[in-house]
């Protein structure tokens, strides 16, 4: 007996919306990536709770793949940020408003 299923889902949805607000409001490219990470984590929490609720392991398996996707996304995203910073000298999203760098 732990907690009702809806409480875990409420925690996951609040976490997801915090990540969405972070990705939408912050102007720093690194903080936008951080917001995406928070959203992926919230999705993982919801999947684990659903896996326990229905007694099936599929949810946990998908969390494993979410981890793989998050790791590769961060690697490529941070490499892109470093590359863009080397070219333009800025990590603010507002400074990338031209198509031709």
């Amino acid at each position: 007996m732990i907690v009702p299923y809806s409480h875990v889902l409420i925690l996951a949805s609040l976490l997801f919306l915090m990540g969405a607000a972070c990705a939408g409001a912050r102007r720093n490219l690194i903080m936008i990536l951080v917001g995406v990470e928070i959203m992926l984590n919230a999705a993982a929490l919801a999947l684990v709770a659903g896996s326990l609720r229905w007694g099936a392991l599929d949810g946990q398996a998908f969390v494993l793949f979410i981890f793989a996707v998050a790791a590769s996304e961060v690697a490529v995203g941070l490499a892109l940020i470093v590359y863009a910073q080397r070219r333009t000298g800025s990590v603010r999203a507002d400074d990338y408003s031209r198509l031709k760098g």
Binding site: M1, I2, V3, P4, Y5, S6, V8, L9, I10, L11, S13, L14, L15, L17, M18, G19, A20, A21, C22, G24, A25, R26, N28, I30, M31, L33, V34, G35, E37, I38, N41, A44, L45, V48, A49, S51, L52, L57, D58, Q60, A61, L64, F65, F67, A68, V69, A70, A71, S72, E73, V74, A75, V76, L78, A79, I81, V82, Q85, V91, R92
Partner: protein, 171 residues
Amino acid sequence: MTLYGLIFYALGGIILAATLLAITSRNVMHAIVYLIVSFFGLAPVFYLLGAPLLALLEIIIYAGAIMVLFIFIVMMLRIEVRPSDVRSWLRQWAPAVGLSGLSAAIMVFLLWQEPAGRQVLPLAMASPQNFGRFVYQRYWFAVEIASFLLFVALVGAYYLGRRDSGSKDLP
């Protein structure tokens, strides 16, 4: 309320507070350290929900590898904190906070009045042995695709991050 319930609510409070501090702090390094606290809080929640292997992977991959990568990049780039006036700050945050607050209210309301969600979760544990066997029996192809994705990410990160040593073919 059982002891596990108390632990869950305490961890939930820690996670929400740390994430809120992370997304609002002006210094990127502080934000990342708060985020590490949040991920460390999420790992015992995974354990409580019956996923010990995922709890360990959360600490090793998320709080360990990914956040260390973030810290490396922040130290490498020397990000300056620009002071911003209240007007532009409000213009950034007001739509995001308004929209996500509205959807949070709707989601919490829907989840709260849904009778199917009141079912209390059972106390169960998927041992890492069973979990690994399940993944390799049912999702072996997805495991292959995930490994291929990680390889492509490795090559892509190397290609984007290399120094241009006089070569002209850099895009």
